[in-house]
């Protein structure tokens, strides 16, 4: 039944009165997500698209029973905002904001406790037909058997669109973020998808930099039986250059797309060569399996 977000998700929006917070609160509500509270210090009593605003996470949770937080708080203040959610022991925090200092992320990750973090610098996650906790366009998704885990934003949308057009649908799509240190990596989330009854196949969208794909490959080989289809962006990237995302950099010769593709292939994942071929490859493979 998808993972992490669904019909029981009750969302609290941090930074709800800001431009991005307000806009996406409306979009999430339109999608059918239960957005039950917002937090902007000093703005308690206001309403944003009908959602009540509180001064603090603690007050918001007490009043609304929120169990998930999505943060649009600007990078400079994001660390404290995250700590507020962790202190309130919410099980899930999604940080959309780009630009968090890496050492702040190191500190946040250390202090997570029982809170799972998705992001930062990500579009969030969506279980089509159930809940959207993020900024992705809802209409390109449809409920179905394919999960998507991605370090990207618009590339994820493109892949999802291909899957939907191919007659497949998605169980849960998670943008894990483009930063060098993130709350949940591929290896954190793959086991959840392996256990999820709705998910029959997994699409993994990686990119240059770091070792997330190599680590995912090791886990896929050892413990993931569902078919994995992977695309890794950045074959054309020069070394030592940051390609947009803070984490997309080939450093010290490591983290190239070719290495990642080789590791995933060796682990038994199907590596899709062209970004335009993701939907077709998955559709073909799944229809073959079903026969």
């Amino acid at each position: 039944m998808s993972i992490l977000v669904g019909k029981d998700t009750r969302v609290l929006v941090q930074g709800i009165t800001g431009q991005a917070g307000a806009f996406h609160t409306e979009k999430m509500l339109e999608y059918g997500t239960q957005v039950v509270a917002g937090v902007t210090p000093g703005k308690a009593g206001e309403k944003v698209h009908g959602v009540p605003v509180y001064n603090s996470v603690r007050e918001a949770v007490a009043a609304s029973g929120a169990n998930t937080a999505i943060s649009f708080v600007p990078a400079k203040f994001a660390y404290q905002a995250a700590l507020d959610v962790i202190e309130a022991k919410l099980p899930l925090l999604v940080i959309i904001t780009e630009g968090l200092p890496t050492l702040d992320m190191v500190r946040i990750k250390k202090r997570l406790g029982s809170t799972r973090l998705i992001g930062p610098n990500c579009p969030g996650l969506i279980s089509p037909g159930a809940a959207k906790v993020g900024i992705m366009p809802g209409y390109i998704h449809t409920p179905g058997p394919v999960a998507v885990l991605s370090r990207s934003g618009t590339l994820t949308y493109d892949a999802v669109f291909q899957l939907t057009e191919a007659g497949l649908g998605e169980s849960t799509c998670i943008g894990i973020g483009g930063d060098p240190v993130i709350g949940s990596t591929f290896t954190d989330l793959l086991p959840l998808l392996e256990e999820d009854p709705q998910t029959e196949a997994i699409v993994l969208i990686g990119e240059i930099g770091g070792t997330a794909e190599e680590e995912a490959a090791a886990l896929i080989k050892a413990a993931i039986r569902k078919p994995v289809f992977a695309f890794v962006a950045g074959r054309m990237a020069p070394k030592e250059k940051r390609m947009g995302h803070a984490g997309a950099i080939i450093a010290g010769g490591k983290g190239t797309a070719m290495e990642k593709m080789a590791a995933l292939r060796a682990a038994g994942a199907t590596v899709v060569e062209s970004p335009a071929g993701i939907g077709a490859t998955v559709a073909q493979a799944l229809s073959t399996r079903r026969r």
């Binding site: 806009f23 979009k27 990078a75 400079k76 968090l100 200092p101 890496t102 050492l103 702040d104 992320m105 190191v106 500190r107 990750k109 250390k110 900024i135 992705m136 366009p137 209409y139 390109i140 991605s150 370090r151 990207s152 934003g153 618009t154 590339l155 949308y157 493109d158 669109f161 483009g178 060098p180 240190v181 969208i205 990119e207 240059i208 770091g210 070792t211 997330a212 680590e215 962006a233 950045g234 074959r235 054309m236 990237a237 020069p238 030592e240 250059k241 940051r242 390609m243 947009g244 995302h245 803070a246 997309a248 010290g252 010769g253 797309a257 060569e273 062209s274 970004p275 335009a276 071929g277």
Partner: protein, 395 residues
């Protein structure tokens, strides 16, 4: 953000790391004065030798003639004159090289054992980590490739820092014993202080030298600080040397666009870094060569699209442009209008293949079709668009 060696050494010295006596210089006259100062501080006599080291944001300068020796103030001025203001081409700079904006005049230290010491972020563990090796003064990537065990990695708790056991492990990896080990221990602590205080992504001492007189100090220092943290380090932000950056990348950065120059003929304009990388990839797969990576970001209004085009077309090698936009919040009809306005305003002559997908895509495509622009070609599928633009770039 990269820092120059002389800036890194100043920051490290402030944190307690011993460094060679030295002064930076931006003109030959300053270099001559720097020589005299360093000579005086070192108590040197006639013929006292100093290094004249080119300062640029790339390694490999030694083999490229970027490190000279001066044994007098006159020589210091002459050697500096030959380096300053010129572009130095090293193995790491690419064929265009980088301009030498300053030189570091520092005391020569010869002999000694060359070691390697660095602090960086271990992304996999989401923790800082120290790296240490007895193979200093060489390319650490090559060391890692030949023998992974030659480099010892010690992760560090962000709050507690290195404990004694961690320090001992690193000192052992460096082969330091006795007084040298104590000197090394102080350096480890200072390095950690500097790393936290500057929100560094990397501090690399290569080589860290155990000198014949027992001193332990870095002969070179490479430092990169986290761009995302610069808002809380205005003093570090002020150290930025824009001369070391590609002018188009600089221009793009100023308006919130990510741009990286490549060496092909097909310009790219995309929204989203992953999609932009994937667009470069598919061009290559279809037999073409991308001229740039460009992420116009989530905003993508007419202003930004126009500026993005200006930047792409500033590269004279561009023969055709591929625009790949997946409209999420951003509507395709707004993008289409932005494209029409921008290309009109700039009188763009090269062919532009446009692939739009997402919100209001039909309206967007219709706008483009109705504009009847000869050099604006719409393609619905990314692969078709890539093939088309590759063909156009060839003709």
């Amino acid at each position: 953000m990269k820092l120059h060696e002389y800036q890194a050494k100043q920051l490290l010295a402030a944190a307690g790391v011993p460094i060679q006596r030295g002064r930076s210089a931006k003109t030959p006259e300053e270099a001559a004065q720097a020589y005299e100062t360093v000579k005086r501080e070192a108590g040197g006599g006639a013929g006292f030798a100093c290094n004249i080291k080119a300062q640029l944001h790339a390694g490999g300068r030694g083999k490229a003639g970027g490190i000279q020796v001066a044994a007098s103030a006159v020589e210091a001025a002459e050697r500096s004159k030959a380096l300053l203001g010129k572009r130095l081409v090293t193995k790491q700079t690419g064929p265009d090289g980088l301009p030498v904006s300053a030189v570091l005049v520092d005391e020569r230290l010869s002999g000694g054992i060359e070691l390697y010491l660095a602090v960086t972020i271990d992304r996999s563990k989401a923790m800082p980590a120290f790296l240490a090796s007895r193979s200093g003064g060489v390319d650490i990537e090559e060391v890692a490739a030949k023998d992974a065990d030659a480099i010892v990695r010690v992760p560090v708790d962000i709050d507690r820092g290195l404990d004694t056991a961690g320090e001992d492990q690193l000192l052992n990896a460096l082969g330091l014993t006795g007084p040298a080990a104590e000197a090394g221990r102080r350096i480890l602590r200072s390095l950690w202080t500097a790393f936290l205080a500057t929100d560094a992504s990397l501090i690399e001492l290569n080589p860290l030298v155990l000198a014949p007189d027992g001193r332990v100090l870095p002969l070179d220092a490479k430092m990169t600080v986290d761009d995302n943290a610069l808002f809380r380090h205005p003093d570090l932000a002020a150290l930025r040397d824009e001369s070391q950056e590609h002018p188009l990348e600089l221009q793009a950065g100023r308006i919130g666009i990510s741009y990286v120059g490549l060496d092909g003929t097909i310009g790219c304009l995309v929204n989203g870094a992953g999609l932009a990388m994937a667009t470069n990839d598919i061009i290559k797969l279809c037999g073409g060569t991308p001229a740039n990576f460009l992420d116009v970001g989530g905003g993508a209004n007419v202003e930004q699209v126009t500026q993005a085009f200006q930047i792409i077309l500033a590269d004279a090698r561009v023969k055709a442009v591929l625009v790949n936009i997946f409209g999420g919040i951003m509507r395709c009809d707004w993008i289409a209008q932005g494209l029409l306005n921008a290309t009109q305003q700039l009188q763009v002559k090269v062919p532009i293949v446009v692939r739009l997908q997402g919100t209001n895509v039909e309206e967007g495509r219709r706008l483009l079709k109705d504009a009847h622009r000869l050099n604006l070609i719409s393609c619905d599928e990314l692969e078709d668009a890539a093939r088309k633009v590759v063909e156009l770039a060839r003709s």
